[in-house]
């Protein structure tokens, strides 16, 4: 920063008896190359951890188009590539489908808080069905234990571990993605990587997400999960029945969350959490069909709860009580 080198009359090299020009050139050349070599070596050393790369994007993956902009041919190619990649990694060839929402369907979930016993079977069924990472552990459903009489979430116990459930004096409330009609997570995504489909399911294009985690900060239900590193799923636990917007294995650095088991529900099956529930607390169906079970429940129950209703998110997930 000092300016004197410019103010003062040319000192060192010029004021001394001038060495032969080529010697000068050689000396400064040597010095410059020494500085350059040191710099390059330091740079190379700093970049070295890149060799441990988990997940180097290939050109094909790097240039992959946005879900809504892919032609059916593009999609077929991508699905095939994903199947190849999964097979290579897990030794099991999956079937990956791009399932579209069905016309005239809007899914709704109802959960009977009187029946739920807090056994967390839904949590583990969900992990198995949706190929959630075992290490680090990712689970879409969090079951809260609340003292009888209060819905104050700050009183919730997340890590209750009694010998047996249910416990006296408590009730249990499983929370997962509420599939809001007015989802804050969709609004904040800077790249449209998450959106709401016509059947009410908010989905994520795992290959488009940039991993900024703004949606995770925006969600009032803490329903979103981030892949802080490459997820690990034991080879024998992989569910090979996969959907592009659903349970196909995710990569490092992207968001995921409950999608009402798109790979099941869009072909007319129930979500895995519902099927496994031993208490029959979970009900799922098409609200646009007046004869569906969920339509009946929402018609006949006098009180049901939309979690944090005051947020204006209008969840498609309803809690109710048998009274």
């Amino acid at each position: 920063m000092d300016q004197n080198d410019m103010d003062k009359p040319p000192s060192s090299p010029a004021s001394q008896p001038a060495p032969p020009a080529d010697a000068m050139g050689r000396r400064s050349f040597l010095r410059t190359s020494a500085v350059l070599a040191t710099g390059l070596a330091a740079l190379a050393a700093s970049l070295k951890p890149l060799l441990e790369m988990n997940d180097f994007p290939t050109m094909e993956r790097f240039l992959q188009k946005y879900y809504k902009e892919m032609t059916p041919q593009d999609m077929a190619k991508v699905l095939k590539r994903i199947e190849d990649e999964v097979e290579q990694q897990y030794g099991l060839r999956p079937q990956v489908r791009d399932l579209k929402p069905m016309a005239g369907v809007e899914y709704v979930y109802c959960l009977n808080l009187t029946r739920c016993i807090g056994c967390r079977k839904c949590v583990h069924a969900c992990v198995a069905e949706n190929n959630e990472s075992h290490d680090p552990e990712i689970q879409y459903i969090r079951v809260l234990r609340l003292p009888d009489g209060s819905l104050d979430i700050d009183k919730a116990e997340h890590f209750y571990a009694p010998d047996s459930v249910p416990e006296k004096g408590y009730f249990y409330m499983p929370v997962q993605c509420q599939q809001c009609k007015n989802p804050p997570c969709v609004k904040v995504c800077p790249v449209h990587a998450t959106w709401q489909e016509t059947d009410g399911i908010t989905v994520i294009d795992y290959d488009w997400c940039i991993g900024c985690r703004y949606c995770e900060a925006a969600c009032p239900y803490w329903a979103r999960r981030f892949n802080f590193t490459k997820p690990t799923i034991p080879k024998d636990r992989l569910n090979p029945d996969m959907a592009y917007l659903g349970n196909r294995p995710r990569r490092q650095g992207v968001m995921e969350k409950c999608h009402f088991c798109i790979q099941r529900t869009r072909v007319g099956r129930y979500p895995a959490c519902l099927e496994v529930c031993p208490a029959g607390a979970r009900k799922f169906g098409n609200i646009l069909d007046p004869n569906s079970e969920v339509s009946y429940i929402l018609r006949s129950k006098r009180v049901f709860i939309q979690l944090k209703e005051e947020m204006g998110t209008s969840p498609r997930f309803f809690y109710y009580f048998d009274v």
């Binding site: 970049l47 890149l50 919730a156 997340h158 804050p184 790249v191 449209h192 900060a217 802080f228 590193t229």
Partner: protein, 580 residues
């Protein structure tokens, strides 16, 4: 056209060359910053390979110290440009040269901001999804897409303004008003917008009651206007020190000689003005009747080497023009004398005290037998009635790049007012949270007093509050008029606000989670190294920007001395690649 492009490339090339040379302190400082930046790069490469698991973040606390630093630096960037307001709107001349330094600081801060958001991304390789037109840009719905636009726009605005003004200085042409004044005004509004948009990132999240408060935006601006100018006060003193320093000037101003007899004085004659006109043609524009009126107010001094013409700290208000010989100006700093500059025939010194009435900022003494024209303050003002003389004297004053104490005091009053507002707004927030006592107070409880046996942030926030309060008291007391105390105050402001607004705002928003889970956050070593790396990179950028712009502002790097084996390249030959 091709010539203009060639000229511009020569300019850029010379700027790069000058950034590569300096004295040992410059090399030590930039070398250190480069080393720490590389350390940060190394840590980031580890994160890039293994994912964000190497940070302390989790699904519970999903933003950490990266976003905290980002938020703080957006404020610095915004505040740096607001320095422009006093200059362009209120015509405050004291801050004129600070504007370029302020804008360069804004550029460096924005570069750091962009680096901090980039390292926070889980998939930085997919950055192109954010480019409007190529990717999918969720504008105007997502506040993050607004942030992408305002930050990059702000970067371009400031690069344009600084680059244009510096290039004009380099070519010694007058900047075309239409090429930069509109941009300056846009930049002022834009500066408010970048910080407001950044506040809206948080404010817009209804699911996070701690952030979902309309006071966050105003608080951001108030704290930015405190920390930003505080940072500039410190940076400007560093610039002032290193731009005027010299190892030649050590020792006594007299150069060790015995005190010499007082200089010979005589009344000025019209011939003296003729002589001055030879070196300073602008004097020719002064009408002869004014010259006649000047004569009684002027005298000519004949001085010998070592004679002192004016002394630092004195307030007698004469201004001087050199008619023959050479005068050296030295500033005393901490017991050492540093050469500020050397003036030759036709050049002036002492005019600042004459015009502003401030004490002498340096001591001037003759380097060789010299003839000096001495004018009273009234005479100088009379002389400066001629627009040509006024222009040359003023431009030389600013060329000398005066970061006057008065400019620093102007910044101090900005910091003072902002800190009062900042503390007031913080008090408002704390009152609303705790007095109403509803369920939304949990995050504030966690921050200020701890919650359910978790209190990692409590010592931090109280440190921040203590720093802010001490800084506020110091700022309102006259004691902070002394630079030593002002510097202490500025450091307190910067650290206090960094904690309060970075860690104190971002982290508690996540604790407890929306489902009531308590999970604390502690930055990991790797994450900390990345932060240090980015800060070093930003400081390195700022250092290099200053290294390029200071000689241009001082007029020592200009188009005129282009082809010549210029002063800057004698060192360049040693440090940089051989040129031509």
């Amino acid at each position: 056209m091709t010539r203009a492009i060639r000229n511009y490339f020569v300019f850029l090339q010379r700027c790069v060359c000058i950034a590569l040379v300096g004295d040992w302190r410059y090399y030590a400082w930039t070398g250190l910053l480069t080393a720490v930046s590389l350390l940060g790069l190394n840590a980031y490469c580890r994160q890039f390979a293994h994912g964000l698991i190497v940070t302390g973040m989790s699904d519970e606390v999903s933003w950490g110290v990266y976003i905290a630093n980002f938020t703080f630096l957006v404020g610095v960037a915004a505040a740096a440009v607001m320095m422009v307001i006093p200059v362009y709107i209120y015509k405050n001349e004291d801050l004129h040269d600070l504007v370029i330094f302020g804008e360069l600081l804004a550029v460096a801060a924005i570069l750091m901001c962009l680096a901090f958001v980039t390292v926070d991304l889980g998939r930085p390789d997919r950055f192109w999804h954010l480019i409007p037109g190529i990717g999918q840009f969720n504008f105007p719905k997502s506040m993050l897409s607004w942030d992408v636009i305002v930050l990059n726009g702000y970067l371009l605005l400031n690069v344009h303004i600084c680059g244009y003004l510096l290039y004009c200085r380099y070519r010694k042409t007058k900047p075309g008003k239409w090429f930069y004044i509109p941009f300056v005004f846009i930049a002022i509004v834009w500066a408010v917008s970048i910080h407001t948009v950044t506040a809206f990132l948080y404010v817009g999240l209804g699911g996070r009651p701690f952030w979902n408060s309309s006071i966050v935006g105003p608080r951001f601006l108030a704290s930015a206007f405190t920390a930003g100018p505080a940072l500039i006060i410190l940076a400007m003193q560093v610039v002032r020190r290193v731009t005027s320093s010299s190892s030649l000037g050590l020792g006594s101003p007299e150069g060790g000689g015995a005190p010499s007899p007082p200089p010979k004085r005589r009344a000025a004659t019209p011939d003296d003005f003729v002589l001055l006109t030879r070196y300073l043609p602008e004097i020719g524009s002064v009408p002869s009747e004014i010259r006649q009126r000047l004569l009684p107010m002027a005298e000519v001094l004949e001085v010998q080497p070592g004679d002192i013409l004016l002394r630092q700290g004195e307030t007698e208000d004469k201004a001087f023009f050199i008619l023959r010989g050479c005068v050296v100006v030295k500033r005393q700093e901490g017991g050492r004398f540093r050469i500020t500059r050397t003036a030759g025939p036709g050049e002036q010194f002492g005019e600042i005290t004459a015009l502003d009435g401030t004490p002498r900022t340096a001591t001037a003494f003759a380097e060789e037998p010299s003839l000096v024209l001495s004018l009273s303050a009234a005479a100088l003002r009379l002389l400066m009635k001629s627009p040509q003389v006024n222009k040359i004297v003023r431009s030389r004053m600013s060329e000398r790049l005066l970061i006057t104490d008065r400019a620093l005091m102007t910044l101090r009053s900005i910091v003072q007012v902002s800190m009062l507002i900042n503390v007031f707004l913080l008090a408002n927030e704390v009152f609303k949270e705790f007095y109403s006592g509803n369920l939304h107070v949990v995050s504030s409880k966690y921050l200020f007093v701890g919650l359910k046996n978790h209190h990692a942030l409590v010592p931090w926030i109280w440190t921040a509050i203590a720093f802010n309060l001490i800084a506020m008291v110091l700022l309102v007391l006259p004691v902070s008029r002394s630079l030593k105390w002002l510097n202490v105050t500025c450091i307190l402001c910067i650290v206090g606000i960094w904690i309060e607004k970075g860690m104190g705002l971002v982290i508690p928003g996540f604790i407890p989670t929306p489902l009531g889970e308590m999970m604390e956050y502690r930055p990991s070593l790797n994450e900390t190294l990345v932060c240090f790396g980015i800060w070093s990179f930003g400081l390195l950028c700022y250092t290099v920007f200053l290294r390029m712009s200071v000689p241009i502002l001082q007029g020592r790097l200009c188009q005129e001395n282009e082809g010549a084996p210029d002063q800057s390249s004698n060192a360049a030959a040693a440090g940089a690649a051989p040129r031509g």
